[in-house]
Symmetry: D2
Subunit: 339 residues, 4 copies
């Protein structure tokens, strides 16, 4: 059994990582940490874990951690991961970074969108972008995996089949994305107070979301071209992202052409499902799974197409995909612990 | 005091009409009806009305209704309104129809989208489309007002300023619309059961929503051209519609140009508010009001623009706007009863 | 028109006060303040107020406030009201205090439950407890009204009819109370983050809630005796309190006896409604009203009785009742602005 | 691998049974059925099951079912189970009945509360009431297990430790119970429409809930005495039951006495957890688990005690407990498939 650690185990993604890893058949969860001062048992913090795991949760100390585990999940705020990963990697550990720190290849881009100079720029090109459906070969044996953001996962699974198949769209694709509240992390915030979000729905960071360059880079990595516009909205629910993508194709393009592109892209994928014609997924269809469900429609006379992609932002959008990446990097069956 | 009636008073829109009309300074709510067999007091059905109104609510009988009121709000399912309105109009009554029956000028279009031959086709061109911000002059003194649908209201308030100003967009505008559950009406439905909608979010009637031709006709009525794609989604909340509109303008178009178009269109409008740069409305900002709030952004280097429009689907999207139309048609101050 | 002020206008209760007072027929909202540093227009903070009110909202400064208004609503955190009210009262102003500071007659009790020595102890006995249905005569012309807490309002409206009628219960009455989240105020708090409250329900401050002595004092003020146990719970919704009260009466007590007590207590009350046998209110029945709805049942063979009381915690539980108290204190019709 | 069947697989409880059994290490889900006319793959009805199970779901036909499985979970409406179980039992199958049909030992009681004559009265005394923490020995090897109702599970786990320890309460214990909406089943119902339940909270079936006799019988089965009052409420959330129990003990009873009773009752129980002093569970603590969490407090000077019990109504309150019962009846480890 491989020993694994979750650094930052008490945020929503960290908690989900602990939950998944506690039931994983090929690893043993051996170390968890959290910024909280007071050491506690992780199963006392999340009581549903009782009987499944028995571990102290204390602030991260490299000297304890290095001896405890072989694979490290970093579920840390951005700018913290890039200061934590180097020592782990230097000691031969494998790192799955759930933060944004290693997702953009260009340090200037990182600085522009995350407001701080990158602390570990030379590793940016070495880090592997962990979207298995498109970059599986690079993830195998990777030492440092940059786990994709939740919105980029949702968007790229709707965009990259087109890039791979060379089916180009005209003008800018629209990516209208909606996320549940856990996407914002576990923190005190007046704007995320129950009564501000409940019975409400709003756009935020319009044309200014930090996940936009990540989507652009993901598209480029897959050899794709094509412009897009990206707007994010906050849904009054816990978990789930639904992205509605709008493409303009030449009038007369048959819906079957689009459907073939998606069905062949995902025919062998265990975690992506293309719905039949006329069926579209809701976020509850993928709740607490590592799946992405996709529905699509195309109006032939105008060439307008709609692709809807649904994931759980903590599942395929974060912790689930991180475990899928670990499975690939460590040679386990890709679905281990995820079904 | 003008006497008014609400036919179909126990659906969500009917209830909201009763609530608003009970506090209106220039009218007296004199007659309410509902399909429910058992006659009841309306204030027993909606107990918060106690002390504000005292009226029997029984099945609609024209012989009772005609003597009771001068203005009739028809809050009926489509295909029922067009069978109810003629007798009222023939008796000199004024009708504000909240259903879809008189919104489309072409009976063939109605039949295609509502699945039934129109029963009163000759009145379709006589009916006035009740979007006051754009068709105010026609609404004044109108005998038959077709109150706009909730989605069309939300979409057209984001489209028509461009049509009026002659600011054309390229390709198809995207209208990504999201609605709360009261938009579907008060009815038993497994798909609208709490646990199906709660913690869920999904697209529905993709590229096939019956409000699409209404938006197209509204655009045409205002002299606008331009294609659009329209997709609707179901939000897990009671009330509110938020539409996110995406336009492609020529690169280099300044944001100020777009802002000027919206600000001048709505400068004198009491019920539409354009937010300052960088601010976008949420549906809670307009909850239980007759207001529409609009936010916008434009990226000059690409010409991509985003317009967000928020209304309460039962307020500006239905009952509030119906009362605004009555105010116009009857010569009352436009805001009477609505603030 | 009497000029009124709301001190603390941007909390949930303050906002509701502004909303109600902006539509009140006999007063003019003349001054609002908030701790927020930056002066803003109140209608920019709450955009749905646009067209109804036009007022600067800035930090409270007594020198500005005293000249601006005659009646002051203090919607302040406890311990702040008792430092703000004295200067207003000394200048002849009328004060409706929505905080807990003047609700308990005994300063020792205050100190024990609110953790601080009372700053204005001599006024505690002069302050009038503002539950109009039971203390209406004392509220008329009162200079200082202590507006009841939300839980105590809900509980006392279910207890005091028994006290007044001399119908004693055996042992301890159980008050199982459940509140929506706005009851906790508008603030950043990890525990009130959307994803902590949503899809959750929990008891809190079990046998230790600071509203317990207020209920005990309210009972005593009405001449009632009888023990009770009080537990509060947090509901995943914005507004509403439902209290379920359990009484033990002697076996054989007829349900009609209990019903008569409640119906005669509230027969002339505009804001309290006793439901018919077999009907029980939900919090949505009283949403955004100043009403309290009550349902009751008694099992004669055992003498067990259940009384359910529903209010809107921001309506009858705070702002609505505060305006009702102002109406009484100032000689307006009791329902002015509240229907 | 034992072959198991779920009869009624598309209701909320049936779906949860399928989900749990698909991951159970010692059984193979071999047959599922549903009233729905159209045969479908169960993994197409619940797409998150794809990759985990591949089974047709069609209307129940005994001739197919008998050959397919050894253990049958009946997730059927009451009155249907008692017509389905006999043939299965006569053919040597084991039955875990999730309906109410075999929970009450007395057919007259059944008829009074479920409105129909019992169709299989002779088996009522043979059926074992499946609350493992208290009736474990009888469940081992049982052929017919009556799986407890959700409310009774929640209530009895708070009552039976007292019965077993002989700690009697005075008067009637109050059981104030609140449940999420899945407890009402998956069905079209205007009263369960999203907008009726959302932002609402109400009591229902006050002093008239059909689970009351089941609680009384459960208490009796454990040798307990003592009266209780039981009221149920509907929470605006999907899953979870929280019951707040109020007991009157003699003044001076130490809290430690109560705590000892609960801690010793559950010390060896894997699925019941007693929280430390001052801590109370919320329903989210047990979401999607087979656990019951309990918190308690006692005020020594008055003898008033509060016990709070939280379960997931579909987990420990239905499907989870049903699998726990199967594990016991079939000799598997009790926690198999449940952690």
């Amino acid at each position: 059994m491989l020993k694994v650690a979750v650094i930052g185990a008490t945020g929503y993604t960290g908690e989900e990582l602990v939950r998944i890893l506690a039931g994983h058949p090929h690893v043993r969860l051996a170390y968890v940490s959290s910024r909280e001062d007071r050491a506690q048992k992780i199963q006392d913090i999340f009581p549903y874990l009782r009987g499944r795991v028995d571990l102290d949760c204390r602030p991260f100390r490299p000297e304890d951690a290095l001896g405890a585990a072989d694979v490290f999940f970093l579920s840390l705020p951005h700018t913290v991961s890039m200061r934590t990963a180097p020592a782990l990697l230097a000691n031969g550990k494998r790192v799955i970074d759930v933060s944004a720190d290693y997702r953009l290849p260009d340090p200037a881009l990182y600085e522009r969108h995350y407001g701080e100079k990158h602390a570990d720029p030379e590793r940016l090109r070495e880090a592997v972008y962990g979207l298995p459906e498109f970059f599986r070969d690079r993830i195998r044996n990777a030492r440092l995996v940059a786990n994709p953001g939740c919105y980029p996962t949702s968007a790229l699974l709707g965009l990259l089949p087109l890039a791979r198949a060379g089916l180009a769209w005209q003008g800018a694709c629209v990516i209208d994305a909606k996320s549940g509240v856990t996407g914002a992390g576990r923190k005190a915030s007046a704007a995320l107070n129950f009564s501000e979000v409940n019975e409400n729905f709003r756009a935020y960071k319009v044309l200014a979301h930090q996940h936009e360059p990540e989507i652009a880079e993901g598209l480029k990595r897959a050899g794709g071209k094509g412009a897009f516009v990206f707007v994010t909205h906050l849904l009054p629910l816990d978990r789930g992202i639904l992205s509605t993508l709008y493409f303009q194709f030449p009038p007369g393009t048959p819906e079957k052409r689009l459907r073939d592109v998606f069905e062949s892209a995902y025919a062998k994928e265990r975690f992506v499902r293309v719905h039949a014609a006329g069926r579209f997924p809701g976020v509850k269809d993928v709740l607490r799974t590592n799946q992405c469900h996709i529905g699509l429609a195309l109006r032939e006379e105008t060439g307008n197409a709609v692709v809807v992609s649904a994931i759980d932002n903590l599942g395929k959008g974060a912790a689930g995909q991180a475990v899928q990446n670990m499975n690939l990097a460590c040679g386990f069956p890709e679905e281990a612990g995820l079904e």
